[in-house]
């Protein structure tokens, strides 16, 4: 017996040398990068993945919307929550380590990197789908660059010479496999360069996308995005025409304003008015507007963003939108973002009508429809009388009320050159700082007024 055990012992010792292949452990939950773009299906799955990160809380899952409203608060909303970082944004006393500013910047560029990869592997996509994939990808990329250049650009497009103002780093190619590569230490392009890229991407997107594309990016939303960009550039003709194309494509594909104002909000699927919305359900997607605008009664945080009299006073007594608020503990909150797990509306058809109306009013034209007719669409729904000959001021007021708390306040304040909370529209405090984490990593120029 002893001999047998001795032999077995040595066999056991030697037997262990066969364990080497155990050292090849792959994550059972993930696939190797070499396979990630290997088929048409996989490239498209990457695009869906890009929608998910595009819709994260730091981006169009809400932050870029409510941060826009806080930046342009002008006494109409108050950040009352305990978190100091959003309070910095509301008070325009932002520190370079602000975590919300950082997250938005980070997630925007991470999503852009994913989008650039998809464009690089476009050839892998089946020919029938290739155009749509390209269009959606470019739409998402343009939307992100537009948010970046508005928040982080040295000044807004119309506040100086855009060819001299610092924009944001502009990257349209895949990044090297090593994330630490110096190739990623990209300096800031000018505002003009960034806008040029945005316009090119959106123009391609508008051409490539179908008018109806489920809840993914479509032709009308690309056109409306172009209208937004042209408004920032104060190019009202181009903005008007883009808005008009948006409306034509949208109505042709069955989009329409919903009948009752309140039915447009707190929906878990897109309404007929939603040109583009981030999809949220209990399992995926996020809606940080709800988190901060709503109250614990509705599963939100603490009712952090309260609506003030200064805003409520703007509504006519008969305006149903003036009643679209709820009161808790003496504080007023908007109903637009009341319920949990609801879609984040990024673009509504109503905005296209209002943009067309504004541009027509500015240019004295009636492209698509008269100013009065376009304005009447939302006003009538809100219970307001039709105006026979509305002026620009009335159009802008209508825009402000219809789109309140939906993320357009900051962009509008910039292009309309409003004074916000005592600050000039081009005050250095009216832009975000380049996050400290980036300036720590490489020598990227900081915005004036930030250190």
């Amino acid at each position: 017996m002893k001999k047998i055990l001795v032999y077995m012992s040595f066999a056991g010792l030697l037997g262990l040398t066969a364990c080497d292949k155990q050292l090849e452990q792959l994550d059972p939950q993930q696939i190797d990068a070499s396979l990630a773009f290997s088929t048409s299906e996989k490239v498209k799955q990457n695009l869906i993945g890009a929608y998910a990160s595009f819709g994260t809380g730091s981006l169009f899952g809400g932050d870029v919307l409510w941060m826009s409203e806080l930046m342009a608060s002008n006494g109409e909303v108050t950040w009352t929550g305990t978190f100091p970082d959003p309070r910095q944004i509301w008070g325009k006393s932002i520190l370079v380590n602000n975590s919300y500013v950082r997250s938005t910047y980070q997630n925007a560029y991470m999503t852009i990197a994913a989008l650039n990869n998809i464009l690089f592997y476009l050839d892998v996509v089946d020919e029938t789908d290739r155009g749509v994939v390209e269009g959606e990808t470019k739409f998402l990329r343009a939307m992100l660059y537009f948010e970046l250049v508005k928040f982080f650009g040295e000044k807004s497009y119309s506040a100086g010479n855009p060819a001299a103002l610092m924009g944001v780093p502009l990257v349209v190619d895949p990044r090297p496999a090593s994330p630490t590569s110096e190739e990623n230490h990209v300096p800031r392009s000018t505002v003009e360069q960034v806008y040029t890229q945005i316009l090119a991407d959106l123009t391609d997107a508008e051409n490539l996308l179908p008018a109806d594309n489920d809840f993914y990016a479509n032709k009308p939303s690309a056109a409306l995005a172009l209208a937004r960009v042209h408004l920032q550039m104060l190019d009202y003709t181009a903005a008007r025409d883009a808005a008009n194309r948006c409306i034509t494509a949208a109505t042709g594909a069955g989009f329409s304003l919903v009948g009752e104002f309140e039915d447009e909000f707190n929906t878990s699927s897109n309404t007929s008015e939603d040109l583009f919305a981030m999809q949220v359900n209990t399992q995926t997607g996020s809606n940080s507007n709800q988190t901060y605008y709503s109250t614990p009664t509705y599963g939100a945080r603490d009712g952090d963003i309260q609506i003030n009299e200064a805003h409520l006073d703007l509504y006519s007594p008969v305006d149903v939108r003036g009643d679209f608020f709820f009161t808790e503990g003496g504080s007023v909150f908007t109903n637009k973002w009341r319920d949990q797990y609801m879609n984040v509306k990024v673009m509504r058809l109503a905005e296209a009508y209002l943009t067309r109306a504004e541009c027509n009013a500015r240019l004295g034209t009636s492209v698509g429809a008269t100013v009065a007719l376009d304005l009447a669409r939302t006003r009538t729904r809100a219970g307001l009388p039709v105006l026979a000959a509305p002026g620009l001021g009335e159009v802008l007021t209508e825009r402000r009320l219809e789109l309140a708390f939906e993320g357009q306040a900051f962009a509008d304040a910039k292009r309309l050159r409003l004074i916000v909370d005592g600050l000039e529209y081009d005050s250095p405090k009216m832009v975000f700082p380049i996050p400290q984490r980036e300036t720590n990593i490489y020598d990227i120029a900081q915005n004036p007024g930030y250190f």
Binding site: D27, Y51, N281
Partner: protein, 1025 residues
């Protein structure tokens, strides 16, 4: 089940006995040389045969020996073995207790044992008996202060949760800095949550051997850079079965339950003042952008606002007249009990020995709703099957139940209750707890009453092993070990809780997670030992091991519960999520060690291990970890041996290389993970991967000297070490433009240098009275010496200043330096970059100041044991010196009324008029964001060194004369206290703190509503039967 036949074989073999024809009977008695008391369970064997017996309770033995037998071998654990000639038939033997001479202690080294004398490396041993029955849940906590250079810190007073051990400082930034814990040869696995070492019943432990230097630890190769803690459990002793019963009961309290917050009257006055000040500031200094007509108008508006808040927070009570004065701080704590019952039995014959134990203990936490309960059993079995085959078996099973409380940064965690206003009543007139908007924030009591969080762990640790004696001096050891942890975590949030209130129609949320982690280990090694003449002694070990670690996780979440009593997911109206995953890791190792002792004086030791790990890049799977050491016992030379002063002297030196592989699995591979958008399947980049990812290696040198004076009454050790770590594993921040924000890289180098002193002394030793002391103190100096070569600073997050700065210790507080308060206007001041001039604009302040160091300069412990007859008093002081702690909650609770959080009382000392000299800026409510709220600065960093009366124990052992009448072999009454006294300058609850939600290698010394430590007093009784 497959092991049953094997066990049967063991039992069968043990039944075989050899019989001798011609015999004689020998009897005698064995006593302790110290006091002449009889020794039970001593092995008495006829030399050269297997025949023998063990002594009875009275020390007597009687055995039948072959007629030609000449010598008996008398041996017992803890005593020097003795050979005596058989002269006559009644022998008297007295044995010398070897434990009193620590230099001859047996220490456990990896894959074997050695005598402390023949060791050239540094191993600190803590005896299991030193910490037995301590009323703490975690063995790591029990070791605090007991071994030199071993820093133990519980992050907060939550029971059975995060606790860290650092042996000779931190050797890693991105990997783990915890030592490798090995229980009876099997490295332990971690659970999903809760401290993994809290699952181990340390009353079963014989010894903790802490491998500190490279020479000692390198045999564990790629996991040894942080040191290794070898835990050896108790084994059976032959003899009549001895029972030990122990029971204790006591109370737990916070070390400090009164940090001190404003009372209702002070709150109203202080915030009224802050409102007025803020209005003046807005009108005069913030451009009055709200457009008030006059300063008074601004004040009136602000007062209206703040009174509106008071109305809200007071729930309609008469706050102006102090109708309600709630001390919320007290409500975070509960009256807590602790108790333990333990039964163990040991016995057997010379062939088969066993140790059996059962234990149940409970520790109620000091925080409301926090509980910990552990029950377990162990069987350790040894069998000498034949003269050349020994078999053994260990099995322990433990069940741990925890009632957990949320992390420190959650509104639901008990300690955040201190933020609530003292003017707020706890309950409304109907008896319901108030919540927001009446309470300033969510009321944590709602979670206490309406939510449950239960974590149950089942843990099996065990192994089977065989020792085969192949030929004289050469044996083969084979073992199969297993560590399995099964965890089941159930959470439920009722309709009134923050999480459970989903919407007006959907109430109640629950989640359930299952986690299983297993380590299987096969280890085989040969041991060779040979004495050549008197001059040469050789010991060698050579072997291999294979480990596989596999974990599984599954979770389900749901919401919408029809009734608050229905709390399992079966009752959820909607399943909102679920996940399952599996992970696997493997380690293949080859190791060897040789020790050569020349002339019993010169010790030369060399060891090496090759580890192959699945975690690293293809070209870096294998690592080689060699070490060597030399020791020289000078005291065995005549020139010292003849000295009456020096009794032992051994200088030693060691050098070796160890590794650290403790990073996330699969980090070397660039992979894409499934994700989804609107429930459509999707892919996204998950890990950037790094083909060059490799081991983190530490070169460590140790020079030490062991000494003994006055015939061993004063012994000690002094060590100097230098640890240099290169290829530091770190989650290196990258520009977001790269598509990821960090990548696991080998960047940088770090060093730890330090000295350690150990001193043990027998101060007084008489028959009735003894007094002994044990003292250890150590200094460690950590320094990050290089990052990637370009960056020299990696800053902390938005709330804490813990940074990595080249040339400074890991986690140093780095950033903006507070310069006190402007005497003229009450503004907080900060230093500009020049370090001299100051500014009131935080955004202009210099950001490159060293503000403090969370790493202690010195750590130490002092134990004194005084015994008089049956009475024994033992007390241990433990100290940590020269470190700082940052209170991350300072910006909320000590913020000059920046917001409506209740403030610490020191804020009453705020600046009030020109000329006031104070550290607290003017109280100003930051309603309009006119000025920066208090952010990271040295304002919230303070000294946190402390000295603590860690344990004190008073015991009385009843005299044997009394006991023999009641048939009890021993009885001891005791009272033990833990953390009874703390001496510190720290202003927070407790200086031993590192908030759980962010604790890590860099994130040290941070306080954020962290619970104070637990102070316990227990009364107990131990009986030997």
């Amino acid at each position: 089940m497959r092991k049953l036949p094997f066990l049967g074989l063991v039992l069968l073999l043990s039944a075989c006995q050899l019989l001798f024809a011609q015999t004689k009977t020998i009897s005698g008695k064995v006593t302790d040389s110290k006091d002449g008391s009889p020794l039970q369970g001593v092995s008495v064997q006829v030399k050269g045969t297997t025949s023998g017996t063990v002594t009875a309770t009275d020390g007597s033995f009687s055995l039948v020996a072959p007629a030609n037998a000449t010598t008996l071998v008398i041996s017992s654990l803890g005593f020097d073995s003795k050979e005596i000639a058989i002269t006559g038939s009644a022998l008297s033997v007295s044995l010398v207790n070897s434990e009193s001479r620590s230099l001859d202690e047996i220490v456990v080294v990896g894959y074997g044992t050695n005598s402390k004398r023949n060791l050239a490396g540094n191993i600190a041993q803590v005896k299991g008996s030193d910490i037995r029955n301590l009323p703490v849940p975690d063995l790591t906590a029990a070791l605090q202060g007991r071994a030199s250079g071993v820093f133990v810190e519980a992050g907060n007073g939550k029971v059975g949760e995060g606790i860290k051990m650092r042996i000779r400082g931190s050797a890693s930034i991105g990997g783990s800095n915890e030592p490798l814990y090995v229980v009876d040869g099997v490295p332990i696995v971690g659970g999903l949550s809760g401290s993994a070492t809290a699952d181990i019943n340390f009353n079963d432990v014989e010894s903790f051997d802490i491998l500190k230097d490279a020479s000692a630890a390198a045999i564990y190769g790629s996991r040894a850079s942080n040191g290794v803690v070898l835990i050896t459990t108790r084994r059976g002793k032959a003899g009549k079965t001895q029972f030990n019963v122990s029971s204790q009961y006591g109370t737990n309290k916070p070390t400090n339950d009164n940090r001190g917050f404003l009372n209702a009257q002070e709150y109203v006055e202080y915030f009224t003042m802050a409102a007025e000040n803020a209005a003046k500031y807005h009108y005069n200094r913030a451009d009055n952008w709200r457009g008030y007509a006059s300063e008074q108008a601004a004040i009136n508006d602000m007062l209206t606002y703040v009174r509106g808040r008071f109305n809200r927070y007071s729930g309609g009570t008469d706050w102006a007249n102090g109708a309600v004065n709630t001390n919320w701080e007290k409500l975070a704590f509960q009256d807590a009990n602790t108790g333990q019952i333990e039964v163990s039995a040991t016995g057997g014959n010379e062939k088969t020995k066993f140790f059996l134990s059962g234990n149940t203990s409970k520790q109620d936490g000091i925080l409301i709703g926090n509980k910990f309960k552990r029950s377990g059993a162990r069987l350790n079995l040894d069998n000498e099957a034949t003269s050349w085959l020994k078999l053994g078996f260990n099995l322990s099973i433990t069940k741990v139940d925890r009632d957990r409380v949320p992390a420190d940064n959650q509104f639901t965690t008990p300690m955040q209750i201190v933020a609530l206003s003292p003017i707020t009543p706890v309950r409304d007139p109907e008896g319901n707890l108030y919540n927001t908007p009446t309470t300033t924030y969510y009321n944590p009591l709602l979670d206490y009453e309406g939510a449950t969080w239960k974590l149950q762990s089942w843990r099996n640790q065990g192994k089977v092993f065989a020792d085969v004696s192949l030929m004289k001096g050469l044996s083969f050891h084979s073992e199969f070990g297993l560590d399995v942890i099964n965890q089941d975590e159930e959470r439920y949030w009722g309709p009134n809780t923050l999480t459970g209130n989903v919407s007006p129609t959907v109430k109640g949320v629950a989640s359930n997670s299952f986690y299983r982690n297993t380590r299987t280990l096969v280890s085989n090694y040969l041991s060779y030992g040979k004495q050549v003449g008197d001059m040469h002694k050789i010991d060698a070990t050579l072997g291999m091991s294979y480990e596989n670690i596999r974990s599984r996780y599954a979770s389900v979440n749901g919401q919408g519960f029809p009734d608050n009593t229905l709390r399992t997911l079966a009752s959820a109206s909607e399943i909102t999520g679920g996940s399952a995953s599996v992970d696997e890791d493997a380690l293949v190792s080859y190791f060897g060690r040789a020790t050569y002792v020349f002339d019993k004086k010169i010790i030369v030791n060399a060891s090496a291990r090759v580890d192959g790990s699945a975690r690293f890049g293809d070209d870096h799977k294998y690592g080689f970890f060699p070490a060597g050491s030399v020791g020289w016992i000078l005291s065995d030379y005549d020139f010292i041996r003849n000295s009456t002063f020096i009794s032992f002297l051994k200088p030693r030196i060691s050098y070796g290389v160890t590794g650290n592989n403790s990073i996330g699995l699969y980090a070397a591979n660039r992979t894409y993970a499934p994700t989804s958008y609107a429930l459509v399947p999707a892919l996204a980049l998950s890990r950037p991967g790094n083909e060059d990812l490799r081991w983190e290696t530490t070169d460590q040198m140790d020079i030490g000297i062991e000494f003994g004076f006055f015939k061993g009454r004063l012994t000690g050790e002094i060590d100097y070490y230098s640890k240099k770590t290169k290829d530091l594993l770190y989650s290196q921040p990258t520009s977001s433009i790269s598509g990821v924000t960090s990548v696991t890289s080998n960047i940088g180098t770090m060093e730890n240098k330090g000295i350690e002193f150990v001193l043990n002394s027998t101060n007084i030793s008489t028959k009735d009275f003894t007094w002994s002391s044990s003292f250890n103190i150590a200094r460690n100096k950590n320094k990050v010496t290089k990052l990637d070569g370009e960056q020299t600073v990696i800053r902390g997050d938005a709330r804490f200043a813990n940074s990595i700065v080249v040339g400074q210790p890991i986690g140093i507080f780095y950033g903006v330096k507070y310069a006190g308060v402007d005497v003229q206007n009450g503004d907080p001041l900060y230093f500009l970059a020049d370090g001299k001039t100051t500014t009131n604009d935080y955004s202009l302040a210099g950001t490159d100041f060293i503000l403090g160091d969370p790493n202690p300069d010195w750590i130490g412990g002092l134990t004194n044991t005084v015994a008089y007859k049956g009475l024994e008093l033992s007390f241990m002081f433990q100290g940590v010196f020269g470190n700082q702690v940052q209170d991350g909650a300072g910006g909320f609770m000590s913020a000059s009324a920046d917001w409506f959080d209740n403030q610490t009382r020191d804020q009453l000392n705020s600046w009030k008029q020109p000329g006031d000299i104070t550290d607290v800026p003017e109280a100003r409510l930051n309603r309009f964001g006119d000025f920066a709220s208090p952010s990271i600065s040295s304002r919230y960093i303070s000294d946190a060194g402390y000295v603590r009366l860690k344990t004190v124990s008073l015991g009385y052992t009843l005299p044997k004369t009394l006991l023999s009448r009641i048939k009890v072999s021993s009885a001891r009454f005791f009272v033990t206290g833990v953390n009874l006294l703390t001496f510190t300058d720290y202003k927070g609850w407790d200086p031993e703190v590192n908030t759980d939600y962010r604790s890590g290698n860099v994130n040290q010394g941070s306080d954020f509503y962290a619970a104070p430590q637990i102070k316990s007093i227990v009364f107990g009784l131990t009986l030997g039967l």
